[in-house]
């Protein structure tokens, strides 16, 4: 590390010494122009048709190169009774060695290069990522390709991973956050859908090394893959190297293009669902039907969410429930992007057990106000300016840009989606926001989960009288914990 300390800067005597204005609004700022990054400036194709997004980090970059391959596939492909297969296959790609290097030898080689190789499968996609010094890019990519195409899934490492999975499963009921997560999943998607179905002791026990091999083999098709890379190297050099190493990949006999991600088909029952758990603080989550990001009203809905609870202390929920009432450390709402089906508009808050009913009343009241009254021009301007002014920070580095474009390509987004994003946000009016509130913030559609001490949550707080059952005209339903090992309801 070399630190250069520049001394002897002279004071810039200039307009900077004019008087300090009494309000920050009186400051004037030079405009800055920011060109939205365009997909076509980063996108290329390898010889075999794999889309690739590449950027040079330039002279301010470090000597690290990052390469990520991702593909559609994941828990949505887990067979019934083998839930957890995708997650295990994902982590074991880099943990179980390859056809020519056993696990310890692969790890030894990577450590000698000071390189890391990580892999994972989530619900709908898998990734393999390499970080390597630019001088070792060729060696690093050789290991990357070996792991991508010929992972060995060594039995002893799989056994270890299964033990770790069992330990994770046994912790499922240890805290309210984890319990609320699975309960909400079941209430939104029912049992048996991948977005709610967790792995069980039995499903993990049932997974074999052959299952991992078959799962990996079926997805390894150039038609599934998307690659992204960023480093200080010249873009063309990086691209040529990728083409040499990955452009020759061909589909094998058992490979197939991954099927579409299925949409849920479950009749939700709105209600207030309570799970009893002895804890000092309750976890509350809620969900309302949202929209696809391709919906023409997306930008108005996004602005609505920022007003309600998506923008920290500038949002109404945080102002009311944290700043005014001191009832929580944080309360948030999220408009989920829903790449494969209509997402949800969700919320979450943690508060002491007896405050749950009052906090929910306050949150529902903020939703009602948004339905009944248009936002003021001033409030809307703050939210919209914030989104627009912060837009450049969404593209904070080259690795961020190429990763985003690669993810969006895999999810099938229109490549020009960001091009006029700021203009679309700017066009949102108070009437649009109110229209979205009326469409999305329908209390009759709410699914609320509260996990905590039921005996304290249900009667409410003596300082703010009102029982949990009276928070909304919805049924109050007790839902039992699930057995952590089998996920069967416990009574």
């Amino acid at each position: 590390m070399v630190v250069r300390i520049a001394l002897g800067l002279t004071l810039a005597a200039s307009a900077a010494f004019a008087q300090i204005p009494d309000r920050p609004e009186k400051l004037r700022f030079e405009p800055i122009t920011f060109q939205t990054p365009r997909v076509k400036d980063y996108q290329a194709k390898l010889k075999n048709g794999i889309p690739v997004f590449v950027a040079s980090t330039g002279k301010e970059g470090t000597p690290l190169v990052r390469v990520t391959a991702s593909w559609r596939g994941g828990a949505y492909l887990d067979p019934k009774g083998k839930e957890g297969l995708a997650a295990l296959a994902g982590s074991q790609m880099t943990q179980g060695g390859t056809a020519t290097l056993d696990a310890a030898a692969l790890e030894d080689r990577l450590e000698a290069l000071a390189a890391t190789l990580t892999s994972a499968c989530g619900d709908t996609n898998c990734t393999l990522s390499l970080q390597v010094l630019e001088k070792d890019l060729n060696d690093g990519l050789d290991l990357f390709v070996q792991v991508l195409t010929e992972p060995a899934f060594a039995q002893d490492r799989l056994d270890l991973a299964k033990r770790l999975a069992s330990q994770r499963i046994s912790r499922r009921n240890d805290d309210v956050t984890s319990i609320a997560g699975y309960q909400l999943g079941y209430l939104l998607f029912g049992d048996g859908f991948f977005a709610s179905a967790g792995d069980t002791k039995a499903s993990i026990d049932a997974i074999t090394r052959d299952d991992l091999k078959a799962f990996h083999a079926r997805m390894l098709h150039p038609g599934n893959l998307v690659v992204s890379a960023a480093g200080r190297l010249d873009r063309k050099v990086l691209l040529d190297t990728l083409d040499r190493k990955l452009g020759t990949l061909a589909p094998r006999a058992d490979a197939q293009v991954s099927p579409k991600v299925p949409a849920p088909d479950f009749p939700r029952k709105p209600g207030i669902y309570v799970t009893d758990k002895d804890a000092p603080q309750a976890m509350v989550r809620w969900a309302l039907p949202g929209m696809r990001r391709t919906d023409p009203d997306w930008h108005a809905a996004f602005v609505l969410n920022q007003v309600l609870g998506g923008s920290g202390f500038t949002s109404r929920l945080m102002k009311k429930i944290r700043s005014d009432e001191g009832l929580t450390y944080g309360v948030y709402s999220t408009l989920e992007p829903g790449p494969y089906w209509r997402g949800d508009m969700t919320g979450r808050v943690q508060t002491k057990n007896r405050s749950v009913a009052y906090v929910l009343r306050l949150a529902l009241d903020e939703m009602r106000k948004l339905r009944e009254q248009p936002v003021t021009d001033e409030e809307l301007r703050v939210i919209k300016d914030g989104i627009i002014e912060a837009f450049p920070s969404q593209w904070s580095s080259k690795p961020v840009i190429v990763t985003r474009f690669a993810d969006e390509a895999r999810e099938g987004w229109p490549p020009d989606w960001w091009a006029n994003y700021r203009e679309k946000v700017q066009a949102v009016t108070p009437a649009d926001v109110q229209r979205m509130a009326q469409r999305l913030l329908d209390p009759q559609q709410l699914v609320i989960v509260a996990v905590g001490k039921a005996s304290e949550m249900e009667p409410g707080d003596p300082d703010h009288p009102g029982a949990l059952a009276d928070v909304a005209p919805l049924p109050l339903v007790r839902v039992p914990l699930r057995d952590p090992l089998t996920l069967a309801p416990m009574r």
Partner: protein
């Protein structure tokens, strides 16, 4: 079991070569009032990552006001004489009135504290034990809060930054510093100077008392709700006996709920003077212009000529091994902490290397893209305990240097069904091996490279550079940033061997053995319980839960009482009664170690 072909590869060690340092052009200036400015120019994106730190944390507190540094961090978002109110004059009057009512509330709390001391009430914070006068004062106070709320421009600073395109507006408090951060478009340099110098020059701690409730919720969320939260707090308090690291940054609940605005003002005057503050700017700006603007805005704040008092209390040498045996509703584990040295101490780099070699050098390298993924088991502990002996599923080592001291931590998770205490001797065997035989040149070189690569990774973004500089400026100087990297790169294997023998010794151990608490709510129903009628099952489950929480003496008494009542049990209650008795006896046997 390795494949035959793999065995050939294993015999061949891959050799690591040294790496070059990453250059960071840091410009450091001091304003006329002693405030320091540390700047790094980067022009790739039109944004600037800003931060300023007051060199004050929980280590500067004392009993009775623990959590003050962190409470202060919250108060710094409540505005100033200009920001956050519609009527500064009435706002100030209301603050005074609130202070007066709170002083009376404290008198009542004092009465309750005495009652609790005498055992007349269980918990002075319980609303049910309030005196009539206290209840009336709380009502009076609430009315003052309501009146003030009408004048408050809610979270105005957040609003101004949000509208200006600010992201990541936040602050954090550690044992040794409080750090206030935000990122802004590069044309908003002067806005940052305006807002931040205003909150240092003209702060108003409004909404002070309600913010204490937010912090109690924060404490519940970040500490008490974690299954091992209060145990880890107690273990930390056991480990540090005299040092102010003894208490958590968030503070003890008793103190958080009783701290006064007067204490806060005194704290501010001492620790938030510009000569105790360093600002860090990383991104797209002209350093000359930034310096001039900083002098104009921050330079108007007077220095505190008295300076900041040193933290005097030093941790005495630990005379004997300390142990905590915890039953918690989480997975079993073993943790061993050794107190070591501050981050700028000459032995800190060798302790880092020791942690890297024991726990795996990859730990220092962060993770490239993508979610999840396990760390490869490349450290000595994982190779021995996880892969070879198969007695653990994970084994980690960390060395953490703070300003006044350090901790070297070993953490092991046993394979399911194995008692964590059984792993202790195997864990110590690995330490003794290093102390006796040292480490190899190759192991040390790999650690050095991982450390360097980890640093590259942290220096890729404006915020990463800001956080890295802040880490060093908390405990030392900009020069330490370079010096510590150089010290790491020139470490020898002898130094690593020496620190293992010197610091990781028996009397310095703090051992936490965690086993899973049997809990009726998380264990699957056992068949006997499942066979009972539902109404009875719920009651039995609750009674069992209470029974399992008892200690050995209480349980023995309870069981004796139950047995004495056996003859009077009606037949329909018999299955439940027998079941409870059986479970209680099993539990007692376990507690007696049979």
């Amino acid at each position: 079991m390795f494949l035959k072909r793999g065995a050939v590869f294993l015999a061949w060690t891959f050799v690591a070569a040294p790496l070059a340092a990453q250059e960071v052009p840091v410009i450091e200036r001091t304003l006329s009032n002693g405030m320091r400015l540390v700047m790094v120019e980067r022009h790739e994106q039109p944004t600037i990552a800003f931060g300023w730190m007051a060199r004050v944390g929980s280590a500067n507190e004392r009993p009775g006001m623990t959590g003050m540094a962190h409470l202060f961090e919250h108060m710094m978002f409540k505005g100033t004489k200009t920001i956050g109110t519609r009527n500064a004059v009435r706002d100030a009057e209301l603050n005074d009135l609130q202070d007066k009512v709170q002083a009376q509330i404290r008198e009542e709390m004092s009465i309750l504290r005495e009652k609790q001391r005498r055992g007349e009430i269980a918990n002075m914070m319980d609303p049910k034990v309030r005196t009539p006068r206290l209840q009336q004062l709380i009502g009076e106070f609430d009315r003052l809060v309501q009146e003030q709320r009408a004048l408050v421009v809610k979270d105005e600073m957040d609003k101004i930054y949000t509208q200006a395109g600010g992201t990541g507006l936040n602050a954090s408090t550690s044992t040794d510093r409080t750090f206030y951060i935000v990122s802004l478009p590069s044309n908003k340099l002067e806005l940052w100077c305006w807002i931040e110098s205003d909150r240092l020059a003209n702060p108003v701690f409004r909404e002070f008392y309600s913010e204490r409730d937010v912090i109690l919720e924060e404490r519940r969320q970040t500490l008490e709700s974690r299954p091992d939260g209060v145990v880890s707090e107690a273990f930390n308090a056991l480990t540090w006996m005299a040092s102010p690291y003894h208490w958590e940054v968030i503070g003890w609940p008793s103190d958080i709920s009783q701290v006064t605005r007067e204490q806060a003002s005194e704290f501010f005057a001492t620790y938030y003077a510009p000569n105790n503050i360093t600002a860090i700017l990383v991104g797209d700006f002209d350093p000359e212009k930034a310096y001039a603007l900083a002098e104009k805005y921050f330079g108007r704040i007077p220095a505190n000529p008295k300076g900041v008092p040193d933290v005097i209390t030093m941790e005495p040498p630990q005379p004997a091994e300390q142990r905590m045996m915890a039953e918690v509703e989480t997975q079993p584990s073993l943790q061993v902490d050794f107190k070591t040295v501050p981050m700028v101490h000459k032995d800190a780099p060798a302790l880092q290397a020791l942690a890297g070699i024991l726990g795996g050098a990859q730990m220092f390298m962060g993770r490239p893209g993508g979610p999840g993924g396990m760390r490869p088991p490349t450290g000595r502990l994982q190779k021995s305990l996880v892969l070879d002996q198969k007695i653990a599923t994970s084994a980690m080592a960390f060395s953490r240097g703070m300003k006044l001291g350090g901790l070297f931590t070993l953490r092991v998770t046993p394979v399911p069904g194995r008692n964590p205490a059984d792993l202790e001797s195997k864990l110590y065997a690995e330490i003794e091996k290093v102390a006796r035989e040292g480490v190899t040149d190759e192991e040390l070189q790999r650690f050095k490279n991982a450390s360097q690569v980890g640093l590259y990774g942290r220096l890729e973004t404006n915020t990463g550079i800001r956080e890295t500089l802040a880490q060093f400026l908390t405990v030392g100087t900009v020069e330490d940033f370079g010096n510590i990297q150089n010290a790491i790169q020139s470490l020898t294997t002898d130094e690593v061997k020496r620190v293992a023998a010197q610091y990781l010794v028996k009397d310095s151990r703090n051992v936490l053995v965690t086993t899973r608490r049997a809990s009726a709510s998380t264990a699957p129903d056992d068949p006997e319980l499942a066979a009972m009628p539902e109404m009875m099952r719920d009651r039995v489950r609750a009674q069992l839960e209470a029974l399992l929480k008892l200690d050995k003496g209480q349980l023995t008494e309870q069981l004796a009482a139950l047995e004495a009542r056996a003859a009077q049990m009606p037949p329909q209650a018999r299955p439940a009664f027998d079941y409870l008795l059986k479970k209680g006896r099993e539990r007692l046997q376990k507690l007696e170690g049979k």
